[in-house]
């Protein structure tokens, strides 16, 4: 008997402007890809990488300071996804499952970054690029980067999952292993901190 497609698995809450996340007509829904990849179809796995790579990299880039570390975290994530697919329960939503692995890899990479930073002498490397001030839009993006980096890791992670990756609190709970109430508090505190810092910048 043919199993029905579980369309809830994928894509239902994806942001409309993230073009690569939409499934072009003629391509199979991602739930079908996940099912096929789980069954050993390498083309389906490659298509999943195509579908989620950019979004995973976006999350990793916002969590980590270096692009190399972000790419390595994403690579490590997909290797782990590949290894864990046989154990993946299709009744689970794929996206929070992917983000659980990705967030874990980013936390580990973040810890490595912090250890490395302890060995960098003060003054060697600027924490973030310094704005030249010639372009307000660039300056604003840099301020956002600084404000985001100043958040505690768990608040940054919760904020990004909720407002950039559009995960529901229930899916965030699956991805982080933290309760919904605690996650709401983290997001609220992150918003408060960003608002306070960036409002201050706007006044300057």
């Amino acid at each position: 008997m043919t199993r029905p497609h579980r369309l809830r698995l994928l894509g239902a809450r994806e942001p409309a402007e993230a073009a690569p996340l939409s499934v072009p007509s003629g391509e199979p829904p991602r739930s079908v890809l996940v099912h096929a990849a789980r069954g050993g179809d390498v083309r389906a796995f490659a298509a999943l990488v195509d579908a989620y790579y950019a979004r995973s990299l976006r999350f990793a880039l916002h969590m980590l300071a270096s692009r190399d570390d972000a790419e390595e975290a994403v690579q490590d994530t997909f290797v782990r996804v590949y290894k864990a697919l046989p154990k993946y329960e299709e009744r689970e939503a794929f996206e929070p499952w992917l983000f659980r692995i990705l967030a874990n890899r980013c936390r580990s990479a973040g810890a490595r970054e912090r250890r490395r930073a302890e060995f960098v002498e003060y003054g060697d490397v600027p924490e973030r690029p310094v704005s030249s001030g010639h372009d307000d839009a660039i300056a604003w993006r840099e301020e956002i980067g600084i404000a985001l980096a100043a958040l505690p890791e768990e608040q940054r992670e919760a904020f990004l999952m909720r407002h950039v990756e559009d995960l529901s609190y229930e899916d965030m709970s699956v991805a982080t292993g933290v309760g919904v109430s605690a996650l709401k508090m983290r997001v609220k505190r992150a918003c408060d901190a960003l608002r306070a810092r960036l409002t201050e910048v706007d006044r300057d």
Partner: protein
């Protein structure tokens, strides 16, 4: 719990939402890492279930074809989406893709590594590497050297006798099989690597 967005948070989200530019080389490295993982799994399964040498080769060959197919599948997708960075051509002089350049010292002729030279004509490439089951599909293991006059890239490898699957990676992103060697076709997955037989399997 209030989770309200205001104008400031909207601007933050708007700034963070655009997807980053994807580096195809990084994506290719990812798929090579996955393929290597797949190969390790199959090798482990082979050791558990196939005690005889001949059987190991057969199972290993099957696993490597699948691993090559995984890498090939996505790299083919990439190359279909973007123009190929180099043009490659088969050498006008028919020659075997694999030349046995001598045998290394060894008492067991059946297992002693042999020197194998791989050659590819790619005059406009800036770098070419060989990946295969013999180096864990690692791009850093077998960089090829370019002969400026002929545009030929070559590398000599020391390989154990048996059936090997391999491919060339041109300019870090373009995956291609050896045009002068038999294709390791896999009916299920489409794009394979190339096959070479070293010594007597």
């Amino acid at each position: 719990m209030i989770d309200e967005r205001d104008a400031v948070i909207d601007r933050v989200v708007e700034s963070l939402r655009p997807l980053p530019v994807v580096d195809d080389a990084a994506k290719a490295r990812l798929l090579i890492a996955v393929a290597a993982e797949r190969e390790r799994d199959r090798e482990s399964a082979m050791r558990r279930h196939a005690p005889h040498r001949m059987s190991r080769w057969i199972i290993r060959g099957t696993g490597v074809v699948a691993a090559a197919a995984l890498i090939g599948a996505i790299l083919l997708r990439n190359t279909q989406q973007t123009a190929a960075p180099v043009r490659t051509a088969v050498s006008p002089t028919p020659a075997p893709a694999v030349r046995l350049a001598g045998s290394d010292a060894g008492t067991d002729a059946e297992t002693a590594p042999q020197s194998v030279e791989l050659v590819l004509r790619a005059p406009s490439a800036s770098n070419v590497r060989v990946v295969g089951d013999f180096n864990g599909w690692d791009q850093d293991h077998a960089p090829m050297k370019r002969d400026a006059a002929s545009g030929l890239w070559s590398v000599t490898l020391s390989l154990r006798p048996g059936r090997h699957i391999y491919a060339f990676v041109v300019d870090d992103t373009l995956w291609m099989r050896d045009p002068r060697a038999p294709a390791a076709k896999d009916a299920d997955f489409g794009r394979p690597g190339s096959v070479m037989l070293v010594g007597r399997p």
